[in-house]
Symmetry: C2
Subunit: 104 residues, 2 copies
DNA sequence: TTGACATGCAACCATTTGGTTGCCTATTAT
DNA sequence: ATAATAGGCAACCAAATGGTTGCATGTCAA
């Protein structure tokens, strides 16, 4: 879980996920396209995404195809974000109460 | 959004959010309790959470009370995670197909 | 008023991070 | 066969990160 959060912390990596979400199964060079970064930097980002199981790869000849694995993102939503949904309104009304109390 | 992701990337910070979720409105010293970290380290973490609007604070005398603001977490769920939910099954079956193709 | 308590501020430090460059290997196309 | 293409590996670097220590400030209680 920690690896996933860390992987998602970087905007470049999130944009790589976006690109794979838009079109799955891209090669490294395709993913580099239009980015203000060297290929090697992208390789590193993809390695981090792969270590976090957010991306899976297949070798096809001399190309490496990258596929999005949406499961970890789904789990973050299920196991982590949902926890904070419960009591969200309660927490907000409490906050509001405090904000008002400040002016007394 | 980036600040929120970065703030959530650290396990200590997530555990601080957990603690506030369990009991809202704790002071700095209460939040330090039982953590293997100095008070100043916790202060820094809370500052990052506050900058990301994940935590709001009120001064009450010499104490500083910390409140969880669940809105950014909710937005991550709504605006970001949900995007990847769409097509989740499609992506998975595609992945499965690729995995099988590998053995040909 | 004086000491204890809650927090703030700043300098410093080691490690991690995000990036680079240079070179090497493997596969494909001519 | 050979050149071009796709990618891998490793060393290096600056900046950010997560943590520390030391001291200052503001507030409460005796």
């Amino acid at each position: 879980m920690d690896e996933v959060f860390k992987a998602l912390a970087d905007a470049s990596r999130r944009s790589l996920l976006d690109r794979l979400h838009a079109r799955n199964g891209q090669t490294l060079n395709e993913l580099c396209d239009g980015l203000a970064m060297t290929r090697q930097a992208v390789t590193k980002h993809l390695a981090i995404l792969e270590a976090a199981s957010l991306v899976t790869t297949f070798k096809h000849g001399r190309e490496k195809l990258h596929y999005l694995n949406p499961v970890p993102i789904h789990l973050i939503g299920e196991r982590w974000i949902r926890k904070f949904e419960r009591g969200r309104l309660a927490a907000l009304s409490e906050l509001k109460r405090q904000l008002e109390k400040r002016d007394e």
